[in-house]
C-alpha cells in the first residue's frame, strides 16, 4: 500500500491544463484505497474498538454497562478459563499437525504426480466447500456414532483400547471425546492446508529435483534438502490458516464433543449468548487474539520464511 501512495504523479499531458490532471493524479491512490478502507473501518476497526471498550465495562444487563476501566475482568477470565485456553491450543495444534501429515502427501501428489488428474483432485479437495460447514460437521456425528461401522471397526482392531488409554476416547465411544473434536477440526480445515501447500510445491522448478539427483542426492534426500525447504512458505501459511481458525472454533467441540472438550470458542459463545456476560466474553476474545498473535509471531520468526524467495 505504501508504494501505491508514494507513486509519483504521472507527467501531465498538456501544458495549458497543467494543474488539474496533476492534482487528480496525486489523489488517485487515495480514491482507490477509499472503498477498502471504509469497509475495514466499519466492519473491523469500529467493532474492535467497541469490543475493547466492552471488555473494560462493568454493570448488569438490567442496569446497563458503563466503562469503568475494570481490567480485572481479564485476570478473572484467564483464571477461570485457562484450561479451555490450553485445550484450544492443544486441539488446534493436533489438528494442524494431522492436516500437515495428511495434506502434504496429497499436495505433493497433485503438484508433481497427478498429471491429467490434477484438476479433478483439486476439485475434490475444494468440493466440501459447496456444502455448509455445519452440515458437514453434523455428518461426522453420524460417521462416528456409537455402534456405527467406524467405531465398530476401531473396536475390533483394538485401536480404541489404545486411544482410551491415552485419554483421547472414552470406553467404546468416539463421539463426545477429544479424538472426535480433533478429527472434526482436521477434516474441516484440511483444504486450507492443502491449497497453500499445493501452490508453493507447484512453484518449485522440476529441474531442481533433477539437479539434486544429478548431485548424488537420493530421492528422500532430495525431498529433505530441496523440496521441503522450498515448500516452507506453503507449510507456514497452511499451518497458520489451519491453526488460527481452529483455535477459535466452537462448532466442532459443540457438535462432536462434550462438556469435557469445551474449547475457548465455546466459552466465548456461552458467555455472549447464554450468560450474557459481555465484558468477560470480550476479554476472552482479546486474550485469544493476543495469544494467537504472539504464537504466530514466534512461529514465523523461528521458521525463517521471510528469507525464502
Amino acid at each position: 500500500m505504501s508504494t501505491l501512495t508514494e507513486a509519483p504523479p504521472p507527467p501531465s499531458p498538456t501544458v495549458t491544463d497543467k494543474k488539474a490532471p496533476r492534482r487528480r493524479g496525486r489523489f488517485t491512490p487515495y480514491w482507490l484505497l477509499l472503498p477498502g478502507m471504509l469497509w475495514l473501518i466499519v466492519f473491523f476497526a469500529l467493532p474492535m474498538i467497541y469490543q475493547a471498550s466492552t471488555s473494560v465495562q462493568t454493570g448488569s444487563l438490567e442496569e446497563g454497562y458503563r466503562v469503568t476501566w475494570h481490567f480485572a475482568t481479564y485476570w478473572h477470565a484467564l483464571a477461570d478459563y485457562w484450561p479451555q485456553f490450553l485445550r484450544s491450543v492443544a486441539y488446534a495444534a493436533s489438528a494442524t499437525v494431522l492436516c500437515l501429515l495428511l495434506g502434504y502427501p496429497l499436495a505433493y501428489l497433485i503438484a508433481f504426480r497427478a498429471g491429467r488428474w490434477r484438476n479433478l483432485i483439486m476439485i475434490l479437495v475444494i468440493a466440501p466447500f459447496f456444502t455448509s460447514f455445519l452440515i458437514r460437521t453434523l455428518a461426522w456425528k453420524t460417521i462416528l456414532a456409537d455402534g456405527g461401522p467406524v467405531v465398530g471397526a476401531l473396536n475390533t482392531l483394538h485401536v480404541l483400547d489404545v486411544t482410551s488409554w491415552l485419554g483421547w476416547t472414552a470406553g467404546d465411544r468416539v463421539l463426545a471425546t477429544p479424538l472426535a473434536v480433533v478429527c472434526g477440526l482436521t477434516y474441516n480445515f484440511l483444504p486450507f492446508m492443502i491449497l497453500p501447500l499445493y501452490t508453493s510445491l507447484e512453484r518449485i522448478d522440476g529441474r531442481l529435483h533433477e539437479a539434486a539427483g544429478d548431485l548424488y542426492a537420493k530421492p528422500w534426500t532430495t525431498f529433505r534438502k530441496v523440496t521441503f525447504p522450498l515448500s516452507m512458505p506453503g507449510v507456514v501459511s497452511g499451518t497458520l490458516l489451519t491453526f488460527i481458525p481452529a483455535a477459535g472454533d466452537y462448532v466442532n467441540a459443540e457438535l462432536l464433543g462434550s462438556t469435557d472438550t469445551r474449547m475457548i470458542g465455546n466459552v466465548i459463545q456461552t458467555q455472549f449468548l447464554r450468560i450474557l456476560d459481555y465484558p468477560t466474553a470480550a476479554a476472552l476474545s482479546f486474550i485469544l487474539m493476543a495469544a494467537i498473535l504472539l504464537m504466530v509471531t514466534v512461529y514465523i520468526r523461528r521458521s525463517g520464511t521471510e528469507d525464502l524467495v
Binding site: 522448478d205 533433477e210 539437479a211 544429478d214 548431485l215 548424488y216 522450498l230 525464502l308
Partner: protein, 381 residues
C-alpha cells in the same frame, strides 16, 4: 591430462528414445573419448538434449546402452552415476547460498571437510567474493559459473552441459565460451556440450556431432564439418553454403567435371560424398567467402583452372570487414558471396555483370536426392 586413461570415455551403443509413436532419438552409436570437448549441435527438437539426458540418467533409453569407461551405467539412477550436469538456466537451489550450492554434491557423498574444496572451486570460477550470496542476487554470468562450479567440484568422469550459455547475452556468451574452454583444458574432464549455436560449437569443441531429426548427420572436427559437409543439412546449418544443381559429365584424373547452366565446374572426387555416374545429378557446393568477384569487363584477368560462374549483382550490403553480395546467376537464382574489404572495386554495385570464380579445391559435392533447403529455417531460428 591422462591420455591412456579411458575412464572418461562415453560410449553410446544403439541408444534410442521414443515417446509413444514419436522417435526423439533414432538408434545411435557414439564414442566420446576421455578428455575431449564434444559438442552435440542441432536445432531445437533434434534429440540432442534427450541424448544428453540419457547420459545423465535423467531419461531412460528405449533401447541401447550407455557406458562410462568400462562401466555399464544404463540401469543406474542419476545419483549413482559419476556424471554431473550444468542445466539449462542453471537450476541453482534458490534457498541455498553460493557456497552451499557448490558444496551440495560433496555433502551428499558424505564428505565432511568441504570448505577448502569449495573455496578453491569458487576461486577457479572467480566467485570467491560471492560465496554467501543467494543465487538470485547474482548476475546471469555469475549464476552460470556457480552452475559449472557446482558440477565440476565433484570431479565427474564426464561433465554434461545443456545449453549452458543460452540465457546469456551475446558478449557474455563469447566470454563464457572462452572461460569454459579454459576450465576444460585446466581440469581435463570430458565435456559433452549441447547447443543450437553453431558458432559456439565450432569455437569450443574438438569434435562436433551435428544432429537432425533424432539422427547424427555428421561428426567431425569443426573445420572438417565446415569445409567438407556431407549433407545439405550440415552445409546449410553450419554457416552458409551456395548449392548449385549440376549434371555429372566426364572424369579427368582425380576430378569430376560437371555441367551447370551451360558452364563447366570442377570438383575433386575426394570431396564428393555422393555416388557419381555420368549423366547423374549432383549438388555442387561452395562457401560464400571462398568466391572471388570480378567485373565482367576484367574477365580475361581471371587465372586459368578456376571454377567460373557468370551473374549479375542483385544486392550488396556493406558490413564493415566484408561486403555481402547476392548474385543472380543462370546456375542459381541467389548466390551469396562475401568479399573482404581490402581493395574495393567501385564498379561492383547492384546491376553490374560479374564473374564469380573460385579454386576448385574448395568445391564439395552432395547427393542431389536431398532437400536442397534442409537446415535453412533451423539456422534462422
Amino acid at each position: 591430462m591422462k591420455t591412456t586413461d579411458n575412464s572418461g570415455d562415453v560410449r553410446l551403443s544403439g541408444i534410442s528414445k521414443t515417446y509413444g509413436s514419436f522417435t526423439a532419438v533414432h538408434p545411435l552409436d557414439l564414442t566420446v573419448p576421455q578428455g575431449s570437448f564434444f559438442a552435440l549441435l542441432g536445432a531445437s527438437g533434434c534429440g540432442k538434449t534427450t541424448t544428453l539426458r540419457m547420459i545423465a540418467g535423467l531419461e531412460e533409453p528405449s533401447s541401447g546402452t550407455v557406458r562410462l569407461g568400462d562401466q555399464d551405467v544404463t540401469a543406474l539412477p542419476p545419483y549413482k552415476r559419476p556424471v554431473n550436469t550444468v542445466f539449462q538456466s542453471y537450476a541453482l537451489f534458490p534457498h541455498l547460498d553460493v557456497f552451499e550450492n557448490v558444496a551440495f554434491g560433496l555433502r551428499r557423498r558424505g564428505i565432511k571437510s568441504v570448505k577448502k574444496q569449495v573455496e578453491d572451486m569458487l576461486e577457479l570460477v572467480q566467485l570467491g567474493e560471492q560465496a554467501r550470496k543467494k543465487p538470485h542476487q547474482l548476475s546471469g554470468g555469475q549464476q552460470q559459473r556457480v552452475a559449472v562450479a557446482r558440477a565440476l567440484i565433484n570431479h565427474p568422469q564426464v561433465l554434461l552441459l545443456d545449453e549452458p550459455l543460452g540465457a546469456l547475452d551475446l558478449k557474455l556468451r563469447r566470454q563464457m565460451q572462452l572461460e569454459l574452454k579454459r576450465i576444460q583444458t585446466e581440469v581435463g574432464i570430458t565435456f559433452v556440450h549441447v547447443t543450437h549455436d553453431q558458432e559456439e560449437a565450432m569455437t569450443m569443441a574438438d569434435t562436433v556431432a551435428v544432429m537432425n531429426a533424432g539422427r547424427v548427420e555428421q561428426l567431425g572436427a569443426p573445420t572438417d564439418l565446415y569445409e567438407n559437409p556431407q549433407t545439405t543439412f550440415v552445409a546449410n546449418f553450419l554457416g552458409t553454403s551456395n548449392l548449385i544443381e549440376a549434371e555429372v559429365g566426364t572424369r579427368s584424373g582425380d576430378d569430376i567435371v560437371l555441367e551447370a547452366g551451360g558452364g563447366k565446374l570442377v570438383l575433386p572426387a575426394a570431396r564428393c560424398s555422393a555416388p557419381t555416374t555420368a549423366g547423374g545429378r549432383l549438388l555442387v557446393g561452395v562457401r560464400p567467402e571462398k568466391i572471388s568477384l570480378t567485373h565482367a569487363d576484367d574477365a580475361g584477368e581471371i587465372p586459368e583452372g578456376r571454377n567460373r560462374v557468370t551473374g549479375r549483382i542483385a544486392d550488396a550490403s556493406f558490413i564493415g570487414v566484408s561486403t555481402q553480395y547476392v548474385i543472380d546467376s543462370p546456375v542459381c537464382p541467389e548466390l551469396d558471396v562475401y568479399v573482404q574489404n581490402i581493395e574495393r572495386d567501385s564498379r561492383l554495385v547492384p546491376g553490374a555483370e560479374v564473374v564469380l570464380h573460385w579454386n576448385p579445391a574448395h568445391t564439395f559435392g552432395l547427393d542431389a536426392a536431398q532437400d536442397i533447403d534442409a537446415g535453412l529455417e533451423e539456422e534462422a531460428a
